[in-house]
């Protein structure tokens, strides 16, 4: 079965350049990915799910129904969306009672969830195509130290995500390695970036971020690689905020892994929209060219 993109909210609505790099990367490795019309918010596993379980399931099931109708699997560009949709599928596929309740709600809009499609995070699919990526690398990112931040919803809960090791993740670092860069090992690799806590307490969210940055800095990284738009925002938008508050000088460029892959494949930096990053990426670009 082929894939359609599930874009979510943050990427198309705030960070379209991340989408550009993803589309270009998948095109380059010869994967045709379609677009799925009519999608709503996944919904946010850190948002709506916390308010009402049933609406969370119904909204997500509606999205899955759209893909079922198109007979295509989900290729998600966001870890949060991936976790939401995988969780909803897991619940509905394993709990008949809940599935019936949700289908009775979906009836109002003429839909019914069956459970015959698969959901994948884009990094999962990239990792599955790692040999292809290796062959396409034209400009290996030699000597570039990259602190990979796998984030939470890409990995956990492992019972549902059923992918990388939830406490010792490897796949993102392997992707960093395959494009010639040097994945950096740091103490707090597994920790949350703090983004979801911003909804409740910005102060705590920023301390969590600073802890991560400190740990990355100690390990001597040049830049940060992420695979989730929420993490991207946290790292790219809030380093300055931390500097302002604490008189620090964090200034790590933040990349989506697809941006780094695209660069290693020799793609044009303007078309990737790298100029839209808040933390300028010039130093890194100079280092790799």
């Amino acid at each position: 079965m082929s894939y359609n993109y599930f874009l979510g909210c943050v990427i198309p609505g705030r960070l379209p350049f991340l989408e550009a790099s993803a589309r270009k990367t998948f095109e380059k490795i010869g994967m045709k990915v379609g677009d799925q019309a009519n999608c709503s918010c996944c919904p946010d596993p850190t948002g709506a799910a916390q308010l009402d379980h049933e609406s969370f399931l119904a909204l997500g099931a509606r999205n899955l129904c759209l893909f079922e109708k198109s007979k295509s699997n989900v290729l998600s560009l966001c870890s949060g969306c991936t976790e939401s949709l995988k969780t909803i599928k897991y619940i509905l596929d394993n709990d008949n009672e809940k599935k019936e309740v949700i289908n009775s709600k979906l009836k109002a809009i003429g839909m019914s969830y069956k459970g015959n499609i698969d959901i994948k995070h884009f990094a999962e699919v990239l990792y599955e195509n790692i040999e292809k990526i290796k062959k396409m690398v034209k400009k290996p990112l030699k000597d570039l130290k990259v602190a990979g931040h796998p984030g939470c919803h890409y990995l956990r809960p492992s019972e549902i995500m059923n992918w990388d090791d939830p406490l010792n993740p490897q796949t993102l670092d392997k992707l960093i390695e395959i494009i010639g860069a040097d994945p950096v090992d740091y103490n707090l690799k597994n920790d949350c970036c703090g983004n979801p806590v911003e909804k409740t307490d910005k102060e705590i969210s920023l301390i969590m971020l600073e802890n991560k940055l400190k740990s990355m800095k100690e390990a001597g990284t040049d830049c940060i690689a992420v695979i989730c738009p929420a993490c991207f925002q946290q790292f790219d938008f809030n380093q300055r905020e931390i500097n302002k508050r604490n008189n620090t000088d964090y200034n790590f460029p933040v990349f989506y892994i697809t941006e780094l892959i695209a660069l290693a494949m020799g793609m044009n930096t303007e078309k990737l929209g790298l100029n839209f990053h808040r933390i300028k990426v010039n130093d890194v670009l100079q280092k790799i060219t």
Binding site: D165, L167, N168, N187, L188, N190, E218
Partner: protein
């Protein structure tokens, strides 16, 4: 009517197997004691001290080793493993595979000249790979039988057809490269299994950093580090920089009481961590220790008092809270993240050395041996014991004792061994 054999075979020469053999032998029953290693002694020989008396472990064990060796009713089969079993209670036929020692048992006098000259350096399993031994060696200084063994996998003569230095230096002409592996057949009336345990490998618990952080070690490694006969000669330094550690932390229940690893209680880590902290303090009374625990299960005789003594006289703080996460600073100091459940505060604290109280797990070949013997294993691959007669296995004539049936400490293993010996004797005397 078939011939009734009166011998008992004991598999495993650790403290449980030794105690069972001695009990039987003293009763006038002939015993074949089968030991896989070159020397008997087992785990207890690796320990510096024993709780709750803090007696020197080898001082208690050594007389028993010697007694086992010279007892007229005990035949010691070292470097030996059970390969096949047939027959039934009263008349078991056992095939034993005995690896060649390449040293004449009657000639070697343990003078050690061969060891001095052997050019090979091999990871020393007895010292938890914390130092190297040679290719000709004895498991440990007090090992019994008190003779050398050549390790075929690493000896230059066997690997490269070279060297033979040991042969040249041995004044007793005890080296014999022509020895061959043997198969021995035994006829025994009953069998005691006392094969002991392995140690849980905490490398799989990524968040604790074992294997990544040099200053995070297991308790058995620590036991060797602090032992007078160990690789540091009893002068404790930490692996990363050879500095003397002043702040120690023990984490209890590593790999035990954990559904994702082993759900059972290790049954002794509350006690042995206290013991190791006490030994450390006796070496250097500037040492302060924190022991992180879930519950203090000090249920044995004098155990609770032992822990109180640790708290009052050995600068041990007991902190209620399981540790899930260890970090490391630039000086390679482990940093423990923990909740002190008594105050509900979550903190991080820097230590010089962290010791993981890893649990006992079944021997890695336990399932294979169970198949050979035709006995059952339980959910965790320990040998399955009868609920009401815990020394009775699932097969008539085969008895269990010590940590091969469930985790247990030394006093319990000794009690268990005497129980198994009584049962094994009963089985052949009835016949």
């Amino acid at each position: 009517m078939s011939k009734i054999s009166k011998n008992v075979m004991v598999i495993g020469g650790g403290i449980a197997g030794i105690q069972a053999s001695l009990d039987l032998a003293e009763r006038g029953i002939k015993v074949d004691l089968i030991e896989k290693n070159a020397c008997i002694g087992g785990r207890m020989a690796q320990l510096d001290k024993t709780f709750p008396t803090n007696d020197c472990s080898i001082c208690i064990l050594a007389p028993k080793l010697a007694e086992c060796f010279r007892h007229p009713n005990i035949t010691l089969h070292t470097l030996s493993e059970v390969k096949n079993l047939s027959g039934q209670q009263g008349d078991f036929k056992v095939k034993i595979f005995k690896k060649a020692r390449y040293v004449k048992e009657d000639e070697c006098i343990n003078c050690g000249q061969c060891i001095e000259k052997c050019p090979m350096r091999v990871e020393d399993e007895f010292d938890m790979k914390l130092r190297k031994r040679r290719a000709i060696y004895i498991d440990y200084v007090q090992g019994v039988p008190s003779i050398m063994t050549i390790d075929r996998e690493n000896c230059l003569f066997f690997t490269k057809n070279a060297c033979r230095i040991c042969e040249k230096v041995c004044e007793r002409e005890a080296i014999d490269f022509d020895q061959e592996d043997e198969e021995i057949e035994l006829n025994v009336g009953s069998i005691i299994v006392a094969t002991g345990y392995d140690i849980f490998n905490p490398k799989s618990l990524n968040s604790l950093g074992y294997g990544r952080y040099p200053n995070v070690v297991t308790a058995l490694e620590f036991e060797r580090l602090i032992s007078a006969s160990g690789p540091l000669g009893g002068h404790l330094t930490r692996p990363s920089d050879k500095n003397e550690p002043k702040k120690l932390a023990f984490i209890n229940c590593v790999g035990s009481r954990d559904i994702k690893n082993n759900p059972y209680c290790s049954s002794c880590c509350c006690m042995y961590t206290t013991k190791e902290a006490m030994i450390a303090y006796e070496h250097n009374n500037e040492i302060e220790t924190s022991i992180f625990y879930i519950d203090l299960r000090a249920a044995g005789k004098g155990f609770r008092e032992y822990i109180e003594r640790g708290e009052n006289k050995y600068a041990i703080s007991y902190i209620k809270g399981k540790v899930a996460k260890i970090l490391e600073d630039e000086q390679r100091n482990p940093i423990i993240v923990y909740e002190d459940i008594n105050t509900s505060q979550v903190k991080q604290f820097k230590f010089d050395l962290v010791i993981l109280a890893t649990t006992m797990v079944p021997k890695k070949d336990a399932v294979t041996l169970a198949k050979i013997l035709g006995i059952k294993t339980n959910d965790f691959n320990f040998f399955k014991a009868n609920s009401y007669y815990p020394q009775i296995s699932s097969k008539e004539g085969i008895f269990l004792c010590g940590a091969c049936r469930e985790p247990m400490d030394i006093p319990s293993s000794v009690v268990d061994a005497s129980g198994a010996a009584a049962k094994a004797a009963e089985a052949i005397m009835r016949g």
